[in-house]
Symmetry: C2
């Protein structure tokens, strides 16, 4: 099987129907199913020949999407600002921000009774661009384009989807790279440490601004899943259904350790200059190393074996020098360098710190996860993935147990997937089906037992 045929598989569904161009919903679903099958075949080794992997899906927690055609079309990033010197945002640290901007996008139409709104929360280094493209010739759709769009599991024909960049980020929302109004210069390390709670409080302001009282659902994976949990516990009256994916109610020591190594890599770079580098040049080497550390945690031993094994990069023999001998080395270097182009090192420090600080039971339950969830009223769908060792299934089970002890309506599914933590971003029929069913039931409940559509 050669590359050409694999390319063909990407472009045809399992019935052989061509799916290039802007296909119908059904065609595009079929394409996703074909992708999922290719990935499964890859996992089983069916698509390797002579030790060479014939296709290489690019993976990461913040994945480059497969080249499916976007069915949502052109979308637009907007901004919402709030706060003033008189009425600043008071953060959980006690510090204040007098002006906050959130970059956000919305997809689909808010219905008349405003009962179909879904907040999608992005992961660590994601952005507000969950789906669609920015122009007709934009080659890169949003980070969850396989999940969000007309006819997709988060169906924009039915639901009004909101996704905003978190505070502390660098993709349009206020963060350390933003101008500090007091100095006229970028905040840098003067930016206050923000928490997952602060992120969600800002999102709530956006939801208020959009005139929505109660969200049909809040959905997100990884650090986005932490935001989902925070929404459900902090604002119980405002969430009908919550879907935390591949996430945890608190970081393990190991997860903190990986983040700390990544932070130290940035801070060890002399160009980081205590966070004051916006006019002198960015700590690119440190940030690239930080990203490489993170990247390993998003994959799995198994997925790395399937994807790279010990294959050499553009050479027949070992180099006996310190160039990248192995494909996995070359891949990591590439991912590190690519990340540097789009991401701010200080934001990386702040966002990893927020993730490490997150501790649902301490913040809302006085040390008891069960007490924390006693505040919550929504229904839950909790999903973990077998090969996710960053936020392993036992951590999801702990939260499910605490939810159930409170008599909450909880569904839990551990999905068999070899891709590690990244799995929540990859095509997966089981996840799609769970997502559809969960949202349909939530919509029924939101509308008093009858379909609103």
């Amino acid at each position: 099987m050669g590359d050409a045929r694999v390319e063909g598989l990407r472009r045809r569904n399992h019935l052989g129907e061509k799916i290039t161009g802007r296909g119908t919903t059904r065609e595009i679903q079929s394409a996703h199913h074909a992708c999922a099958r290719i990935l499964n075949m890859l996992a089983s080794g069916a698509l390797t020949r002579g030790g060479t992997c014939l296709i290489s899906p690019v993976m990461s927690e913040y994945i480059d999407n497969l080249d499916t055609d976007s069915s949502l079309g052109v979308v637009e990033r907007r901004e919402f600002s709030f706060g003033s010197t008189e009425e600043p945002l008071v953060l959980e640290s006690g510090r204040t921000l007098s002006s906050v901007t959130l970059a956000y996008e919305t997809y689909g139409q808010l219905n008349a009774d405003k009962s179909n709104a879904i907040v999608v929360c992005h992961a660590l280094t994601g952005d507000s661009h969950a789906a669609g493209v920015y122009s007709e010739d934009d080659p890169k759709p949003g980070w969850w384009d396989i999940m969000v769009g007309p006819g997709k599991p988060i169906d924009t024909d039915k639901y009004f989807v909101i996704c905003s960049n978190v505070i502390g980020g660098c993709m349009g929302s206020t963060g350390p790279a933003s101008t500090n109004p007091e100095t006229g210069r970028p905040y840098g390390a003067d930016f206050p440490v923000v928490t997952i709670g602060d992120m969600v409080r800002c999102q709530r302001r956006l939801v208020d601004h959009l005139g929505i009282d109660k969200l049909l659902a809040v959905i997100g994976g990884s650090v986005g899943g932490m935001q989902v949990l925070e929404w459900a516990v902090r604002y119980p009256e405002r969430v009908c259904a919550a879907m935390p994916l591949a996430t945890t109610a608190k970081h393990s020591a190991q997860a903190i350790a990986f983040n700390e190594v990544a932070r130290q890599a940035i801070m060890a770079d002399p160009t980081w200059n205590s966070g004051d580098y916006y006019e002198t040049g960015r700590p690119e080497h440190g940030l690239a190393v930080a990203r490489m550390v993170g990247h390993i945690t998003y994959l799995s031993d198994e997925s790395m074996r399937h994807k790279f094994d010990r294959r050499l990069q553009d050479r027949g023999e070992l180099s006996f020098d310190f160039e990248a001998d192995f494909q996995v080395e070359s891949y990591l270097r590439y991912q590190g360098n690519k990340f540097v182009e789009r991401f701010d090192a200080n934001s990386f420090l702040y966002l990893t710190k927020a993730a490490d600080y997150f501790n649902l039971e301490n913040e809302h339950g006085d040390g008891s996860l069960m007490a924390a969830f006693s505040r919550s009223k929504c229904r839950y769908l909790v999903v973990s993935f077998t090969s996710d060792w960053l936020y392993p299934t036992y951590q999801s089970k702990e939260m499910v147990k605490a939810m159930k002890k409170n008599g909450l309506d909880v569904s839990f599914c551990e999905i068999e997937a070899p891709w590690g933590h990244d799995a929540f971003l990859l095509p997966n029929e089981r996840l799609n089906s769970l997502m559809r069913g969960f949202l349909e039931r939530a919509a029924m409940e939101m509308n008093g037992g009858s379909h609103a559509f």
Copy 2:
């Protein structure tokens, strides 16, 4: 249970006998058993109170030993040199070294027929100092002092033990920090890339020098275990028994990935200066980050949870800054900084590269692990540890399968241990018992069926 009582447990065996001072063999064994029990209790949570861990064994692949009293006493590091401009060592890369020095230590007495010699191979950043102390008041015994000594599993009352620092290292053997005789300056990045094969070929020269034809055993864990495999396959006539612990016949993509991130951390440090830093100042920041990366892989999710969980370091509340909030952060920073004091950054690059290059099946079996082991004639004891995710059990099983297909005498044991890859360096009664029995059987065989002692 307070710290005082735990200290007491360290100093008394299970019968309450005091074990301070230079105890008898039996007393010291009991002390080790007590230590093992404490570690097991720690793993089970029995030694925690109110979320606080009452004892904290310091762990790492190259462990600080528990404060057991050394029973081997004062030992001495020696040097063995070979090679000349006329007869250089030709490395597997094809490059040459005209002069090679190995730092080594020996413990116990070589018997008359030279049939009781054991080579112990150290792991990535270890050294020749496997056991004993360098002076009566030296507080720090060798890295495997719990295993090597009179009455210990590798019993220096019976066996003659040899341990040398690997070529490429920085603890007395020739490596990148050594003076290049051609320039009179340190080699730096001009040092040739060495392999596990090169390391073992140098060890063989040392064994020749000591007048030993056939080794009773070669024993080592981690990268030391790779050397064991290399010995057994490369020199089948010279090894009676081989014990590779917590190791692999080739690095997985994930293991290469972690090493590559560590190397990139060093090379990203501008003071690394392409390896030429011996006169200008060492890349301490980069090396510390590299060590932190490695350190995480030596532990396990479970052991980190038991050891640190989310406990804060010297503070009651989160700092809301980028200081070390959590104990695990503080611990990693400490380990990184401590490592920098003793280790050379270039050596770290060379040794990780050697580990990544190691591929027994390619080097000795033309791509077949079974073919590689067909060269081997010794008996094997292969040991893996349940929580070792750096070299997981499935990798040991692969080598065991290939050994068995060759009809070799193989014992395999996966030891239940929560400590991750580090487990092979920690007190473990099961490991001790396996080691003793294996060496006794090997000695029987070496002496034609009768005990030599």
